[in-house]
Symmetry: C2
Subunit: 129 residues, 2 copies
């Protein structure tokens, strides 16, 4: 049964077409477990990540392959790649090589380590963590 | 500047329309940092999550609001909700109330705690973690 192969099998069968060609990827700090960013991978991005050992995504704003930190040096070095039951989502467990994973800068003028630097408070408000 | 408000502001302005009405949501174990599952929220799901304190998603297979574990009792109790720089992705930091977050069962006959129970090995193969 195909569903069972996807869920219980040991063959990688990523379901790109189910998600319009792009799978959501959670980049997680291997050492701390912090969620660093949420990005997307197409098949070329996934293959490039595997080949090079550095997280490569598909930029949905620029519509191009995007090796995170290639320009800035803030690369995400791959430690392991996890796949979910439905094979339509990935977790990249990575080491942050440079300053941080986010393109925004904090009050100290440095790139923030994680893109998730705010939390919801009161329903419609945010606070910095 | 709108982009700066989204990135640095303290007003929740989730960018649903940018992602076709659905934002990816990372459910993360509050205690351990484990990534439990990747699901999607529309605005109704997000509001229901905030109102009830239990993770509620939009099921992309059934096309309906889906309070995780409502039938099985394996609810995900919300501890905090994180928002990313672009406000187009969420992290739900949760407590697993029941047996696990995944709908699949492990060798012990119990629901698996996380949907990410396999990792990529050798490029096209998977191993159980």
């Amino acid at each position: 049964m195909a569903e069972n192969n996807i869920e219980e099998g040991l063959e990688l069968m990523l379901q790109y077409e189910k998600r319009g060609g792009l799978l959501p990827v959670v980049a997680q700090d291997y050492a701390t477990g912090d969620v660093l960013m949420l990005a997307y991978a197409n098949e070329a991005g996934f293959q490039e990540t595997w080949r090079t050992g550095y997280a490569t995504f598909w930029s949905t704003s620029r519509n191009e392959l995007w090796t995170k930190g290639k320009a800035s040096g803030d690369l995400l070095r791959m430690r392991e790649i996890l796949v979910d039951c439905d094979q339509d989502a990935l977790v990249y467990r990575v080491e942050v090589v440079g300053g941080g994973a986010c393109h925004t800068k904090g009050a100290d003028g440095r790139y923030r380590k994680t893109c998730f630097y705010r939390k919801v408070e009161g329903g419609n408000g945010l606070v910095f963590r």
